[in-house]
Amino acid sequence: MKKMAIIASKGTLDMAYPPFILASTAAALGYEVQVFFTFYGLQLLRKDLSSVMISPLANPAMPMPVPMPVMVQMLPGMESMATMMMKQKLKKHGVASLQELRDLCLEAEVKYIACQMTIDLFEFDKSEFIDNIQYGGAATFMEFAGETDICLFV
């Protein structure tokens, strides 16, 4: 059986998609898959994903309906608005929600590993995370990653 490992290190809505899309697809193709969530990537394992947002700020490649000066992007509420618009866009184009992709991965037996060091560092409460995850460190990841056919850092 082929294997794939992914490190998910980003916690924004846009960067949350690649790990879940690739993990679910690889699982559908018969790969054994593990995703290691570290630093901001840990936000993707929260029961409540509403804090996963997208910001146009410092993200000049993000397509905007109207060009928006940085000074405007800084205003309160811009992040929520951009996130809402992005979610509408995803839905309109038939792209699954993060929650849906995360569940599909679990259903396909993708293993989620949460970085213990990050949890200690940011003093996260484990009860805020979903149940079906394991906790480990770099060595835990390497044990699986060392035997993979594909290994990605997102």
Binding site: I21, S24, T25, A28, L29, G94, A96, L104, A108
Partner: protein
């Protein structure tokens, strides 16, 4: 063409058509045929890639009024 099961993946985008195809095939018997309808342009290439990698046979693939119809025979 005859088929044993049908999957309507219209409106879905990558990677959902592939994930749903895999799911539909999982409770079918070897040799049975799944008919998939999709509107995702990317699924044309992806269904071929899925077949190549999983060993299921993409028996036929056609386009009708912007809808793609695939016949996938389970390995």
């Amino acid at each position: 063409m005859n088929f044993d099961k049908e999957l309507d993946a219209r409106g879905m985008n990558c990677p959902l058509p592939i994930l749903k195809t895999k799911k539909s095939l999982s409770d079918m018997a070897s040799g049975q045929v799944l008919r998939v309808i999709s509107t995702d342009h990317g699924s044309v290439k992806d269904m071929q890639a899925f077949a190549n990698q999983t060993g299921n046979a993409l028996v036929s693939q056609t386009e009708e009024n912007g809808e793609y119809i695939f016949f996938m025979q389970k390995k």
